[in-house]
């Protein structure tokens, strides 16, 4: 089976993303045991990104091919990518809100409000499939944008932007987050922008994996049993 350079790039980067994510899942077991919500949210974000990487690998092997089931596999792969990305987009701002404010009420309110657009996008991708609204594969089994592809994509981008802005706001307002180097996150974000300049597809799973790695590195620099917010550390 002849693969293009782009397919190989996809497979290498998805492989690297899966390795990073599985390693992080194994290394964050002790963090999940300490019983905080943000650690659990982080875990689910990593699982969603693994799903993105797996679906992207399926697509790298199926897109443009004509073996039996290739078209169904291709469509399922791309749909899986967008569904999993919706989950990552929904969880990211919630994770940041809980981790940096630890305010239960704010977190609950944000979770209830933000699930509505994310849920609509999730359902829309599934419902829109037969009508080719947001994505479809053509007769040559090539992925194509649907007529309204920008609508759900804009919603997901808005969540990602919220994920970028929330720590900046917290840093400016409260003076905390001294060891969160927000400029650093421009590096993985460039992983979306630079390929676009060269008219290539970005590899979302590895960009998210790098972002998650940065987030966990900064989390590890904080106290493990953290009493900063006046709560008792759970034994």
């Amino acid at each position: 089976m002849e693969l293009s350079h782009r397919n190989y790039a996809s497979l290498f980067l998805n492989g690297a993303a899966i390795f990073i994510l599985l390693g992080m899942i194994a290394n964050t077991t002790i963090y999940r045991k300490r019983g905080r919500k943000d650690d659990k949210l982080f875990f689910f974000m990593m699982l969603a990104d693994i799903a993105v990487a797996l679906c992207d690998s399926v697509v790298a092997l199926a897109n443009g091919r004509d073996f039996t089931g290739a078209k169904a596999l291709n469509l399922a792969g791309y749909t899986g990518i967008y569904l999993a990305e919706s989950v990552v987009a929904y969880l990211m701002p919630l994770y940041l809100i809980y981790r940096y404010t630890r305010k239960e009420e704010l977190y609950r309110r944000a979770a209830c409000i933000s699930i509505i657009p994310a849920g609509i996008v999730f359902a829309a991708y599934l419902i829109g499939l037969p009508f080719k609204l947001f994505l479809y594969v053509d007769d040559d089994n090539q992925y194509q944008y649907g007529k309204y592809y920008l609508i759900p994509l804009s919603v997901l981008l808005a969540y990602m932007l919220a994920g970028f802005i929330i720590p900046i706001v917290i840093k400016v307002k409260s003076g905390r987050l001294k060891h969160m180097h927000i400029w650093l996150y421009l590096l993985p974000v460039a992983g979306f922008a630079v390929p676009y300049v060269f008219k290539l597809a970005a590899n979302a799973s590895v960009v998210y994996a790098v972002i998650f790695a940065y987030l966990h590195m900064s989390a590890m620099n904080e106290e493990f049993f953290d009493d900063r917010y006046g709560r008792e550390a759970r034994l």
């Binding site: 350079h5 790039a9 290498f12 390693g23 790098v210 900064s218």
Partner: protein, 343 residues
């Protein structure tokens, strides 16, 4: 200037590796202890990985380019790249050894001879810049290996194999919780190296970067629970297992507290020498150590306490010791509360 497919693939891969390594550098800057040997070697590994990503990108990025400087940049970058790989692997061997044994003397004795192959290879790579006897580049700046180059590759893999053997030997002898996972570094590094040899892509530095990131995670996990000065567990670990034991009814054991009146280093060394198997030691600070053991035998406990006291007496130290046993008459929760009160 246009780029071919495999060049773009490699540049994306190198960009990802660079992003990971830069993130690692920035996030570890504040966590390094000034006199930490392990931290200094790890910092060197990160710097190696950073320059490796850059030289990889440079040695690959000018493929199919025809301007005058393309060949020179490619050739110099590749030679530098090979030197950096050898330097990385050498420091990696030292790092793993120090991680396991914590002894600078051991490093000096064992690793002085292993610098000789590296020095020979570095000289050979320098000579290769002018003579191309190890490798060369065709008109499209594509790498062509000559037979002598595989000697350097063999040395690289032997260094890596040495660390694997070291790890397996150490794990076969030691017991107790392992926070640091070294094999998750080795797997992506070797995978990246093999793919780079067998395919037209360069992904070695991505494997290296992924491995270093995972290693950093496990090193930081260890810091949650280990006291770096003595290598024993810290109080956070004690709280963690106290909570764990309270939830899961443990079968029985004892806690022994030694008080060395601020002589932390000396008493720590004595306890390490006299410690029987299957014990966990917590450094409580100010020269106090708690030993948690699975025995309920007063005879065994007193033998251990007397051995430590005698060794301390030989060092002109007077220490005190106290113990409590958890048995059928003493519930797990009461035992744990007793431990926590002593913290």
């Amino acid at each position: 200037m246009s780029f071919h497919g495999e060049v773009i693939t490699t540049l994306y891969v190198e960009g990802t590796a660079l992003a990971l390594v830069i993130g690692l550098m920035v996030n570890t800057a504040g966590t390094r202890r000034k006199d930490g040997v392990r931290d200094k070697i790890f910092k060197l590994l990160i710097i190696h990985a950073l320059f490796l990503s850059v030289t990889d990108a440079l040695s690959f990025g000018f493929r199919y380019q025809s301007f005058d400087g393309a060949t020179i940049i490619t050739r110099v970058s590749r030679n530098l790249n090979e030197v950096l790989v050898l330097g990385f692997l050498f420091h990696w061997m030292i790092f793993v050894d120090y991680l396991l044994y914590g002894s600078r003397d051991h490093l000096e004795r064992k690793y002085r001879p292993t610098t000789i192959p590296i020095i020979v290879c570095v000289v050979a790579l320098f000579v290769n810049t002018f003579t191309n006897f190890l490798f060369e580049f065709d008109d499209n700046q594509i790498f062509i290996a000559k037979p002598a180059y595989w000697v350097i590759v063999a040395i690289e893999y032997l260094y890596m194999l040495d660390t694997v053997v070291l790890l397996l030997k150490f794990y076969a002898k030691s017991s107790g919780p392992r926070f640091i996972r070294v094999l998750p570094f080795i797997v992506p590094f070797v995978a990246g190296s093999v793919i780079s040899r067998l395919s037209p892509y360069e992904v070695r530095s991505l494997g290296m970067a992924v491995g270093l990131v995972l290693l950093h995670f496990s090193l930081m996990n260890e810091r949650c629970y280990r006291d770096e000065e003595t290598g024993f567990y810290n109080v956070a670990f004690l709280k963690y297992i106290a909570g764990f034991a309270a939830e899961h009814d443990s079968e029985g054991g004892c806690s022994i507290i030694f008080d060395g009146a601020e002589k932390e280093e000396e008493l720590g060394a004595i306890i390490r020498d006299e410690l029987p198997g299957k014990c966990a030691v917590v450094n409580m600070g100010h020269g106090r150590f708690m030993v948690l053991a699975q025995t309920q035998s007063k005879t065994a406990i007193n033998l251990f306490i007397n051995a430590v006291k005698e060794a301390a007496h030989e060092e002109n130290m007077e220490i005190s010791a106290d113990y409590s046993i958890r048995d059928a008459s003493n519930s797990g929760e009461t035992f744990i509360k007793g431990i926590i009160e002593k913290i």
